[in-house]
């Protein structure tokens, strides 16, 4: 069917198609984007599954991520080692979850990961402060930052442990209908 490409075997493409929200064409296109980030590092032939990872610095320079305040956290959350070095699988996974076809629950899990700066499975006050600083370019005074974070925790924390667990976060997402369309990066 169609033109023969030699980047992936058919089984590999089937696997990608079944495990992500992308079609074959999109996967090949994404491979092209991955390749152009580092043409000398990324082989064009992936049939024998080479073990190539690209560092964080290369990936956050993509036009889709370059201006995003959370670009580092996004890439780190989707990397196996947690430091932002992404293999092609991680790369595809990232854009698959951020695409418009991913369901709300899956996006909520990864959004929680992204906002959890210290990866302790809770969004505590320090995480909120870091989020706020990234979103406002540190132009709020320390007192204001403190107040806003406290207010957020009071609003969203349901079980009273002074930090947001995943359940609290998900409850908040469920009441924000815009989330599906805002947590979305087109590639």
């Amino acid at each position: 069917m169609g033109n023969k490409q030699t980047i992936f075997t058919d089984e590999q493409l089937d696997a990608y198609q079944d495990c992500t929200f992308f079609t074959r064409k999109e996967i090949l296109r994404i491979h092209g984007r991955y390749h152009e980030l580092a043409p000398h590092l990324v082989p064009m032939d992936y049939t024998n599954e080479p073990d190539v990872t690209l560092p964080l610095a290369l990936i956050v320079n993509m036009p889709e991520l370059k201006e995003n305040p959370f670009k580092n956290r996004i890439v780190e959350s989707f990397s196996e080692d947690g430091l932002g070095n992404q293999s092609f699988n991680d790369f595809v996974d990232m854009f698959s979850v951020l695409s418009e076809m991913a369901p709300r629950e899956l996006k909520a899990i990864y959004a929680f990961k992204i906002y959890d700066f210290n990866t302790d499975n809770y969004i505590c006050k320090e995480d909120l402060e870091k989020t706020l600083n990234k979103l406002t370019k540190e132009e709020l005074s320390a007192e204001e930052v403190n107040l806003v974070c406290e207010k957020s925790i009071v609003e969203a924390d349901l079980d009273g442990d002074n930090k947001l667990s995943f359940a609290d976060f998900e409850n908040m997402i469920a009441r924000a209908p815009d989330f599906l369309s805002t947590f979305h990066i087109r590639i």
Binding site: P69, S96, D120, D161, P177, D178, F183
Partner: protein, 712 residues
Amino acid sequence: MSLFPGGGVALGKLGLTEEDIMDEIESGKRDLVKELVAMSSREQIQAIRVLPMCLEDKKHIRSQVHDSKLSKHGLQLTCFTDCSEQVSRSFRRCGANVVSARQAMKLWQGTMKEVGGKFGTSVLSYFIFLKWLLMFNVFSFLINFGFVTVPQLIQPPNKTAAVGFRGLELLTGAGYFNQTVLYYGGYSNGTIGNEPVYDMQLAYFFTIAAYLVLCAVSLIYSVARSFQKNFVLSTTGSAWRLLCSWDFSITSEKAIRQRKNNLRVQLKESLSERSQRAHISTSAKLKQFGIHLGTWLISTALALASCAAIYYLGLYNLEVIKDSQDSISLLTEASTLLLPFVVSLINLIIPLLYSLINKTEKYSNPRTQIYVIILRNVFLKMGILGILCYYWMYNVPTTISCWESFIGQDLYRLVIIDFIFSMLESFFGEFLHNVIGTRCLPSLGVPEFDIARNVLDLIYAQTLAWIGIYFSPLLPLIQMIKLFLMFYLKKVSLNQNCQPPRRSGRAAQMQTIFIALLFFPSFVGALSMVAYTVWSLKPSEHCGPFQGLNITFEAVALWMDRQGSVSESMWPVWIYNNVIKSELFFYLISLIILVLIFFFWQITQGRKLLITLLREQIVNEGKDKAFLLDKLQKLQKEKQTTASSQRPYRQIPQSFDRRQEIEPDYDQDFEDLPGRPLPEEDTGPVGPPFTSALIQAMMARRQAEEEEEEGY
């Protein structure tokens, strides 16, 4: 390898060895694979896609599922299962190819991405709305053209001497176009072909009825879906703003800077809101009430005045046309453009006046301000359309002979002039505003794309198109071309002149409101007008497919009679006589629907109660958890003091060390505690819930083990 980063780490904090952790994770995976094998292929794929694991793990699980499925059917009929596997796989590949082909053909994908990247989701919603309306018109044009126009073109009716093409027709739609298939008058009431016979009357009626019914179904479905998704109780607040409101799809640096500024301002406002929850004195309140009342009166007065003006202009227009019925000079034809010109002018100027008036009012909630503006504009536009419909229904049929074509021409003119005015509006509203704002008056600033006004314009234009389907079957083609050009016009104007919106608005709620507006006054109004025409007005005597009948619907009645006499197919006749003509049926249906609505409303009330109860329960659980952890901490401390007085038991410090190896920066608060909440390995798309019950169980088990060991 776990569902959450640190899931295995959390297990380690409980004092379990690494092998135990691995065992737990493996057994979780085995359960997951078992569950997946039990599902059908499509559900499997959907479930795998939604797993929150990294891609390698998902591929691993997928291959495990395949293997276990094969081994299940293993011995019996391997050839058959092989073939069926191949077949299903090739079907899936075909399906995926179809999906990707459809995506490639999707109109304007690249442009949407660009607009979304630079201006955000709310501006993008305008373009998505435009594309959706375009689809309606494409569908309408295709079925009208296919079922009504093409048969007519095959066998055109006898035409009276046609006027030559004069060029003004493109604007006025009259003259040369008068006798063509563009309008109702260009269709005959006869039949086409010999065997089988294609009845133009029935074709005309049923095509339009089918299209309107499909539109209604599609709109109702969209409104319901949109309402369900977007009108969930949403709150504003710092938490929402901080965590849910950032638009990840914006890629332009300027837009992001704007958004950041905007967010900062909003946060500052919300912080100072507490002190500003002002004590407004009664006199100030009264003054505000007076201002509101005044503005509402002024806007209603403006709307009524414009409606009256349009009505009298229409009557005057009718006089002019009636007088020169036979020899239509160029000047008379041009004078028919006066009415649409005035309508579009009103549509342009009065909303501007409304926004000016709105600036003098003060609303506590910025969203109320937008709603008020939308409401006033809707009143204006629907008032204008209403008065035009009244004029068309009552005054035109008695005065003009081929009145349906006349109405069709009126609508054509309205659509074309509306388009010209939209172009002018873009030019003056946005381009000049931009030029003045950047060069002459910097205080005015660069314009923002006014989503509400533009969407309401689209809704108004679509209402005209829907009204016009009956009178001018090819009007959807004009509307299609117009929407197509509008897209590019607005895109260019947006890129050149506008800045990204400052307020990050509630795009989803606005979207619901716009779809609801498209259904309720717009489509329902158009439908009622067409229904009234079909059921109550006498069609014109000498032109069109329904000439000579008393009402249009009579065509169906006569057809039913003919069918009844032929007595070949009894059931359509039976349905017609007992279902459509009988009133009892409609009473019964209405009663049943009302009862169902009442039941659903009660269910909703019950669910609301349940939600509050569950919320309370969550709070209580949290308190329980804190209390139990506290108690455990105390007990643990006691145990340690008693244990240190005896021989220290080796196992405990070792497990602490092990834990330290795995995760050195552990939360200091619970350092002595042998465990923090354990993630439950859930098979499914949800993250791990931290249950206090599980902690208790693990604690109790450990206590029991320790006591056992100590006892020996």
